[in-house]
């Protein structure tokens, strides 16, 4: 790697509180780490766990979700709904061997530009300490292993001689994640 | 109730009346104390003026020794010790660089300090752990008719104490009232007595003591009750000088623990009132029902 590694964070911010808070941080010229890419949604309730998994799978080292404080949701309780899904997802991530710190949910109100800065800086530092997640590379490795394994099986079967019920040439293996 | 006990230098020297009266009172109330083995000077205000790292290290050695006792609470009756030990703990927890230096220094003498012992003042313990009701039960000779000006001084309420109001502390007021004394209200209860300046710059330092004594007299107090060996020393020892410089303002100054002993009916060698230069002449009568 030519460049020093630095974590990539994908953030999903709700339009009413956290996105506005990030705007406020900008207007206030607060300075924070440039590692976050913010995607705007109307409500944190829109965050589908698949978004988080997809971001991680495509190379994000962490995902940050920002919503209104409990009780302050512009849509009454979208943030609670998110919280519920989030809690489940965190448990699942742990089972997958992904550190729970990589996915973070924060309540940030429109007035809390300072908190945007703090959370992003904190998270960047934490991820730096954890190191890259590198799922795409891992996927590629797994794919290679799977293909190699399949080849090995083929070769072994070929060596063992033809089997009447099965065709001799195996179907081409497709990379699962590439 | 058991506490690690940090007496500090003054309580072994000019302020020995404090220790001599406080320990029997605590025993009488069922509070156990265990003196920290081989404690050293807390560093007081003088050390901070030389090197805050060393001041913290000196204080931290005591915290480390206290942690060794396994008792989670530490009793520090002297105001300066109370402040310095609390301050050291704040510094250790707030400033990682300071913590690093102190941890390594302690390491060089084989000690560790986690910095989680609660440093507490006797007033705090008496009010919040023992409770006024338990204290009232022990009063056999209420101090009826004795007008006491409670004097807290600076360092137990400022800036680290959390057990009482900074501007208008009332723990001693409540305690004295529980002993049956009449509490004199005055606005100077947390004003500075002059501290070590009474010795180093008497003109400035003694003036502060003079103001306190004068105002206490003016408000009709018979005695001033203190919580600090330096305050007691300043308010008790310089009457001749104050009289020569301004006017005589003779009023005794005693430790609150001495008044407690008196109200509990403890013997004279445990109230040690003879150690005061301006003697307190007051004999409480036994309570009618006792």
């Amino acid at each position: 790697m030519t460049k020093e590694w630095s974590p990539r964070i994908v953030a999903f911010f709700c339009n009413w509180c956290t996105y506005t808070a990030a705007d406020l941080a900008g207007v206030s010229r607060l300075k924070y780490a440039p590692n976050v890419r913010i995607i705007r949604l109307m409500c944190s309730g829109r965050v589908d766990p698949q978004f988080i998994l997809d971001a991680l799978a495509r190379g994000a080292d962490g995902v940050l979700i920002g919503g209104c404080h409990p009780g302050d949701c512009h849509y009454v309780e979208g943030n609670y709904k998110m919280l519920r899904r989030f809690t489940l997802l965190r448990r699942m991530l742990a089972d997958l061997g992904i550190e729970p710190e990589r996915v973070r949910l924060e309540w940030i109100s429109a007035a809390e530009g300072e908190k945007v800065k703090r959370v992003i800086n904190e998270m960047t530092e934490q991820l730096k300490a954890l190191g890259p997640l590198g799922l795409p590379r891992k996927f590629a490795e797994w794919d290679r292993e799977v293909i190699a394994l399949a080849r090995e099986v083929q070769d072994r079967e070929a060596a063992a001689g033809p089997c009447p019920e099965r065709p001799l040439t195996p179907e081409p293996q497709e990379a699962v994640h590439a | 109730m058991k506490y690690a006990y940090f007496p500090g230098c003054s309580l072994k020297g000019t302020g020995r009346a404090y220790e001599e009266s406080l320990l029997p009172v605590l025993r009488h109330l069922g509070v156990e104390v265990q003196e920290i083995e081989d404690w050293n000077c807390c560093g007081a205000t003088a050390y901070m003026a030389v090197d805050e790292g060393k001041a913290c290290a000196a204080a931290a050695r005591n915290l480390a020794l206290a942690e060794r006792t396994g008792l989670r609470q530490m009793l520090a009756p002297c105001s300066a010790c109370y402040l310095v030990l609390n301050k050291a703990q704040h510094y250790l927890n707030e400033y990682p660089a300071m913590r690093r230096v102190v941890t390594r220094a302690l390491d060089s003498v084989g000690l560790q300090c986690r910095g989680d012992t609660a440093v507490r003042h006797p007033l705090d313990v008496l009010l919040h752990d023992v409770g006024l009701d338990a204290i009232k039960q022990k009063v056999t000779r209420p101090l009826t008719g004795l007008k006491v000006a409670p004097y807290y001084g600076c360092q137990i309420v400022r800036p680290y104490a959390t057990f009482d109001d900074q501007a208008n502390p009332e723990s001693m007021d409540k305690l004295l009232a529980a002993l049956g004394a009449t509490v004199v209200r005055w606005p100077l209860k947390t004003k500075c007595c002059g501290g070590s300046l009474t010795g180093t710059l008497p003109e400035a330092g003694l003036r502060l003591s003079y103001i306190l004594l004068k105002e206490a007299l003016k408000r009709g107090a018979d005695v001033i009750a203190t919580v600090c060996p330096l305050c007691q020393f300043n308010l008790d020892s310089y009457h001749a000088k104050i009289a020569a410089r301004w006017e005589p303002v003779r009023i005794p100054t005693v430790y609150f623990s001495q008044l407690m002993g008196l109200a509990f009916g403890l013997p004279a060698e445990q109230t040690v009132l003879h150690r005061g230069m301006v003697p307190l002449r007051f004999e409480p009568a036994p309570a009618a029902h006792a």
Partner: protein, 682 residues
């Protein structure tokens, strides 16, 4: 999918915003990079995209290059999305074939490294390019606006806003918590810097409110619930029991004269407790409406204990001379209960005001300890001709030996009490310098006393304010620059005996002074009302870190909130003086009028719909919707969404197990492509 890609022709524009973006983001490099991305037929950088030429550029390019998608990388979409959508529409495209990238607030303004900031801009731009390809044409929906307005709070802000709207022919509900409108201004004696009497300028407006055919005035009432959205709010108002039928009371006050309490006995709220009132009372002579009320806490006809629901228990112990006096008017009703009313309005103006800082929180100044320490609001009542002393300034403390009340011969006014202090409120309360000087003038006029002002800085930014300061200097009022250390009652010198002593550093002279005075006035600051957080939730507004209600933009949308159709005016948004409050109230009324007179609001078409084929009928989305917009067709066993009720949060979309709900503008594919885009750099 490949086919649509081929048809996509994207135009990309990156804005320099002068130096705001260009200083940290290499805009030409971003434009070059985006130009290489698939589907992009044109990529430009330009100085100011939001300018007229910038917008025309987009329109021209759409026509000349047959663009069918546009992406602009500039500031926050909350600021200019509308501008660019309009430009795209003017160019002949559906306005939703547009996406905006925020590289100012989220990039150039918050970073320091030019290379990294440029990288980030590229990543964000790429995400937008990927996303916009999936955009679909959408229609903006128009929803009619209910023309009635709710104004919450009847201080000068609420009064002015209500009158402005009512005079424009709109129907207004004015809801006030206290028994009378008038707010803080009604308690002031004179107003700075003109010294015209507050009552003289306020009471005509109050009575106009009371008699205006377009205004429904509900005092002693509180908003308890707000539902709906801009143009269509349903509001519940609790009308508290005043034990008087408002429509039957004529304001004759015979009941007060005939109360069994011959003398007023209870602390009178309007006069800051300096005066007394009876259990049946009218808050002050000019109260609007002119209707009495009964305080069940002290009235003899009520028991001191409460019913389980919190309502007081009628004892019927009193002789009820008030009822007798009221006679056949029959306005008094001890069985009256709180009542809930529901109203429908299109817009809401919140003017709930402030509270003054509790001076007890600064114990060093002795309020509540020394009787001769006053708050400024108490002095307002004390110098007022209709106040508790008839305008005579006499001390609360011990009287003269002959029994007459003492008058102050020297007075210290301490500025900034509770303000500019990290331990209490850090903000400057803006009005205290001026009102302190006003009180200095009035006290001097009333007593001839020696007056000392203790200030940190004198702040007089207003028309005629500095001139007023100058007038005070001419009057011989002392101004000492220094924040007072303490107010005590112990004397050092004979002249200090029996006085309050102020210890302060005269910072301009560089000396510490002790100044004995008879009276201390604390210029307490303004702070958000204790229940501001609840009120904020009620109206779905935001609060700043300091607790004041947050305006949508500090400069360009000062009376708007983040909730459309809810506006702010007066001190609930931050400390301000009467002229600014009135100006803001007018502005809020104008914003409401603008909405009402347009007649409709445009709604973002970001609503959700269910793909009928894919819905499995699991019903898991139905309880998630806070607006009950999702319904279930039992015969077909499918859910469907009533788009008129849908607000577009997307919560149902995010949790549909079969992925069969689609949110316009936030379709799964759009978001996935955005994720792909932001991560596809390096």
């Amino acid at each position: 999918m490949k086919a649509t890609r081929d048809e996509v022709r994207i135009g990309f524009y990156v804005c320099h915003c002068g130096h705001n973006i260009a200083a940290l983001v290499d805009c030409p490099a971003v434009a070059r990079y985006v130009g290489t991305l698939p589907g992009v037929v044109l990529s430009r950088d330009y100085k100011y995209m939001c300018s007229d030429p910038g917008q025309e550029l987009i329109q021209q390019d759409i026509r000349e290059h047959r663009l069918n998608r546009v992406v602009v990388a500039s500031c926050s979409p909350l600021l200019h999305e509308h501008t660019f959508r309009s430009a795209v529409e003017a160019g002949g495209l559906n306005p939703f074939y547009f996406h905006m990238v925020n590289i100012r607030e989220h990039d150039s303004w918050v970073h320091t490294d030019r290379i990294l900031a440029t990288e980030k801009a590229k990543a964000l731009a790429r995400a937008a390019i990927e996303r916009v390809a999936h955009h679909k044409p959408l229609e903006i929906k128009k929803v009619p606006i209910h023309p009635d307005v709710l104004v919450v709070g009847g201080g000068i802000a609420g009064i002015h806003a209500a009158l402005t709207l009512a005079n424009a022919g709109k129907k207004v509900y004015l809801v006030e918590r206290e028994p009378s409108i008038g707010g803080h201004m009604a308690r002031f004696d004179k107003t700075f810097p003109t010294l015209d009497c507050a009552a003289c300028i306020l009471t005509p407006k109050m009575s106009e409110v009371g008699s205006h055919p377009n205004i429904t005035l509900w005092t002693y009432s509180e908003v308890v619930k707000v539902d709906g959205y801009v143009g269509n709010y349903t509001v519940q108002v609790k009308r508290k029991a005043r034990y008087i039928h408002e429509d039957l009371c004529t304001g004759c006050q015979d009941c007060i004269a005939n109360c069994v309490y011959k003398e007023p006995k209870f602390a009178d709220e309007f006069n800051e407790g300096l005066g007394k009132r009876k259990p049946v009372f009218i808050p002050f002579p000019q109260a609007t409406p002119q209707v009495v009320l009964i305080d069940p806490e002290v009235c003899l006809n009520f028991k001191r204990n409460k019913n389980p629901d919190g309502t007081p228990v009628v004892s019927d112990k009193c002789k009820k001379t008030c009822v007798e006096a009221c006679g056949e008017r029959g306005a008094i009703d001890f069985t009256q209960k709180d009542e809930l009313r529901e109203i429908r309005v299109g817009t809401i103006i919140v003017c709930t005001g402030f509270q003054t800082f509790d001076a007890r929180r600064v114990p060093a100044y002795g309020y509540g300890i020394y009787p001769n320490v006053y708050t400024a609001l108490e002095i307002e009542r004390l110098v007022n001709a209709s106040g508790p002393t008839g305008g005579e300034v006499v001390l609360r403390g011990p009287k003269n030996p002959d029994g007459t009340p003492r008058k102050p011969r020297s007075i210290g006014i301490i500025h900034c009490v509770g303000s500019r202090d990290k331990k209490t409120n850090l903000w400057c309360s803006r009005v205290c310098c001026m009102y302190s000087m006003k009180l200095a003038h009035l006290l001097k006029e009333h007593t001839g006393a020696e007056i000392y002002n203790f200030y940190i800085d004198i702040r007089t930014p207003g028309k005629g304010y500095e001139e007023f300061y100058n007038k005070l200097l001419e009057e011989g009022t002392h101004f000492i620059r220094g924040r007072v250390g303490e107010v005590t009652d112990w004397a050092m010198t004979p002249e200090e005996e029996g006085k309050l002593v102020i210890r302060v550093e005269d910072t301009l002279a560089g000396v510490v002074r002790r100044i004995p005075v008879d009276m201390v006035v604390l210029a307490t600051g303004l702070e958000p009302r204790a229940d501001a957080a609840e009120v904020r939730r009620l109206f779905n507004m935001s609060c700043g870190g300091d607790g004041w209600f947050l305006e949508r933009h500090p400069k360009l949308a000062p009376v708007n909130t983040f909730t459309d159709g809810v506006f702010l005016a007066g001190c609930c948004q931050g400390p301000k003086d009467i002229p600014d409050t009135v100006a803001q109230a007018g502005a809020a009324a104008a914003e409401a009028l603008a909405l009402i007179d347009r007649g409709y609001v445009e709604q973002e078409p970001n609503t959700a719909h269910i793909l009928d084929n894919e819905c499995s009928g699991c019903k898991s989305c139905i309880p998630l919707c806070p607006y009950t917009a999702i319904l279930f067709d039992e015969t077909r066993q499918k859910a469907y969404i009533n788009e008129a009720l849908c607000k577009g949060c997307g919560t149902c979309v995010g949790s549909c197990p079969s992925g069969s709900i689609v949110q316009n503008l936030f379709e799964d594919e759009e978001i996935f492509s955005e994720i792909r885009g932001v991560l596809a750099y390096d």
